[in-house]
Amino acid sequence: MEDLFIISDAIQEEEYIINMGPQHPSTHGVLRFKVSLKGETVLGVEPHCGYIHRGIEKMCERLTYQQVIHLTDRLDYLSAHINNEAVCLLVENALQIEVPERVKYIRTILSELSRLASHQLWWCAFGMDLGALTTYFYGLRDREPILDIFEETTGARLLQSFNCPGGLMNDIHPNFIKRVKDYIVYFRKKLPEYDELLTGNVILQERTNDIGFLTLEDAISYGVTGPSGRASGFACDVRKHHPYSAYDKVEFKEILFDKGDTFHRYKARVEEMWESLKIIEQLIDNIPEGDFVVKMKPIIRLPEGEYYQRVEACRGEFGVYVLSTGDKYPYRVKFRSPNFSNLSAINLLSAGHKIADLVAISGSLDLVIPDIDR
């Protein structure tokens, strides 16, 4: 407890306090770190969030369940499809609707494609945080075909809103399967390049190894999930432990490391890209025939009660809590965003390191600010 809140004691007159953010290149959005420094060494970091707080939870209270979905896109925009899926699964589970197998498969494939795209974007941004600007363009180049796949099938590149309670908005495009297969072949060739360019690089190793340790106990207690938590050995993969959609039908490895430093958080994400490719490969050939949507009543009323649905978003566990009074609007919606919990560990991780390490650490947590502020 004592070392947890050193920040309030640490910020004193003599220390050099700088604001990183809200407009700072390495915070990836409007997040502000109040950093107290001694020379180059970080004594404490106090995150100030809320710069992009839009009150999505309040807005949801005036929207029907179908309408809530498009707002979840705007939380973690890089795992928009997965967030949509969470709300849909919640509604379907609450009404006990069994969606067709086809829907489950397509949802899983699209989720994994989102995860790939998100991890690619993280990889490029992480390289850029460390000063290797070239990674950014390689990552974006490889992400482009995924966005094309999304655009062709869902009609949007980033905020797809492709899920609806009971299924999908539309069937997959006829080209979808071929494009995904081509992409897997393409990306399997490109992914080793990532390792050559950045992972193996001695400068990156020096920059990230033994920096920002997060122990298993801390990871659990802080609720650091996703690849960041799994790098510390926190087996928190919802896909594995509470499977949803078609995840119980596929074989994949939960990437676990026990060291929990910045390099292993990096490594966990790169390894997850391989696993995502594997999952897609297993599913893409076996999409069963069937409907893409179950006929639902136009007005969805959840039975009175509390509902919770967890999914594995790109940055960790995403949860939707709905308190329903039986009305067509939810009484209360709460989004458990992975980034919010991950952010809380930043002070623990970066205290005692250099400014450059703070940048690397916040990069390795892969924060998406709209998801923090909601």
């Binding site: 029907t64 179908q66 979905i69 498009h70 707002l71 896109d73 869902t154 949007a156 908005m169």
Partner: protein, 165 residues
């Protein structure tokens, strides 16, 4: 002696990893053909958007300037941000009955989040997404669009609107 060996190992190992990275960037430097950048304004003529691309909501009219919208308001109700406003009028038909007909279909592009609910719920398939994406204008008022063309009217023999809400 051991420390010297580790020192040299570290040194040469490090240099090797650096050279590996330089090989990757060097490869792309000499392979400019792998560039996938599209020259946007120049390729406008050949640029093909995907059919399903959600550019903007529009209302298809046939050659007789007829649309399919019955002004049932379902899209307006389903829109989460109030970007659709359907203004209807009562029209007296030849047989003396008054019937509700579409007067103006206002679509505020600036408020639209492209969730696709209006198109999904439309019982007549009167509105669709079209892949236009060049929405830049100098005046925000221009983003408030009227989707039905002037003088257009309802296509006959459409299904009866299903009253949902």
């Amino acid at each position: 002696m051991n420390s010297i060996i580790t020192y040299l190992k570290e040194l040469f190992g490090g240099i090797k990893t650096l050279l590996k990275g330089m090989m990757v960037t060097g490869y792309y430097f000499v392979h400019p053909r792998s560039i996938i950048t599209q020259q946007y304004p120049e390729n406008r003529k050949t640029l093909q958007m995907f059919d399903r691309f959600k550019g903007q909501v529009s209302m298809p009219h046939d050659e007789n300037n007829l649309h399919k919208c019955t002004a049932c308001n379902i899209c307006e109700i389903n829109c989460p941000n109030g970007s659709i406003e359907v203004i209807s009028k009562q029209v007296e038909k030849a047989d003396g009955k008054t019937k509700k007909e579409l007067d103006t279909y206002i679509y505020k592009l600036s408020m639209c989040t492209f969730c696709g609910l209006c198109i999904k719920v439309c019982p007549q398939d009167a509105i669709v997404f079209t892949p236009e994406f060049e929405h830049a204008v100098f005046n925000q008022d221009k983003l408030i669009k009227t989707l039905n063309k002037p003088g257009s009217s309802l296509k006959e023999k459409v299904k009866e609107p299903i009253n949902i809400i």
